[in-house]
Symmetry: C2
């Protein structure tokens, strides 16, 4: 099995989930994003900010540069929904979402030969014994993370 | 990159999502499974039956044997929720869920060397030009499918 085919299989899943999320996002109004996905649960806007922050964090994790939106970590990674005042607006988060994913997708194009190197959150020592903790594995885990929350955001509106 | 490592990366995701789903399922009562994941949406019991039928279908797709629960296809694959009378009970579906996944997981152990062969829903001709349509790709797509619905089932109860 050649590496190029494996990388394609994994990236195809990533891009498919991103496309499904974007299709859903485009069908939702800003008002719908302010609703909870189920009573008492996270709001759409929180999940949008959360996914944006998680995808932004993939850039340094894949050693492809710095965070684009470091200010999203506090409200959307380390805080729960409805505990933070003055969140960015739905419009601002939509912009950040597309901005982050477009940059990330452009940057990963350059990784063709380096997908099986370690990511930046694992030490050389640990990587020697755990070679699955490579950059391609980041794409696998973030793809299931995206699918998980997509299932929730899809509950908003009547798509 | 050796094939064994790639297979481990993909199967680790599969098993992690299955474990998360099982943990969630064990925290939910049968009564909670009868609730909709969000108002007007699918009920937990439907999603449990749906995932059981989809995972059952992986057995013939991976050329590992016959369907174990062919009767689940009509209510949970080709019908929407709340359109079919006399669904199996939550208890019956829980049993079928574990039965199917245990069998499937035992069977895929035998696939060590054959993950990159074509699955049974693609022809030899198509596979020649689309070698990513292999058995390992089935695991990738079903893992994101499971994550998608896990995100929804997790909305039930107050876990």
């Amino acid at each position: 099995m050649n590496n190029q085919l494996i990388v394609k299989m994994v990236l195809d899943r990533w891009h498919a989930q991103l496309k499904n999320f974007n299709d859903t996002l485009e069908r939702l109004t800003d008002d719908q994003l302010l609703l909870e996905v189920s009573p008492g649960r996270n709001r759409g806007i929180y999940l949008l900010g959360h996914l944006t922050a998680v995808h932004d964090a993939m850039i340094p994790l894949l050693d492809l540069g710095d965070l684009m939106y470091p200010d999203l970590a506090a409200p959307f990674l380390t805080s729960a929904d409805k505990t933070v005042d003055n969140l960015p607006s739905a419009g601002e988060l939509r912009k950040a979402w597309y901005h982050v994913n477009n940059e990330l997708n452009a940057k990963i194009e350059s990784l063709r030969e380096n997908w099986f190197e370690k990511h930046t959150a694992v030490s050389d020592e640990d990587f020697a014994g755990e070679p699955h903790r490579n950059k391609l594995n980041i794409m696998l885990t973030r793809t299931t993370h995206l699918a998980y929350h997509l299932g929730q955001v899809r509950l908003l509106g009547r798509n």
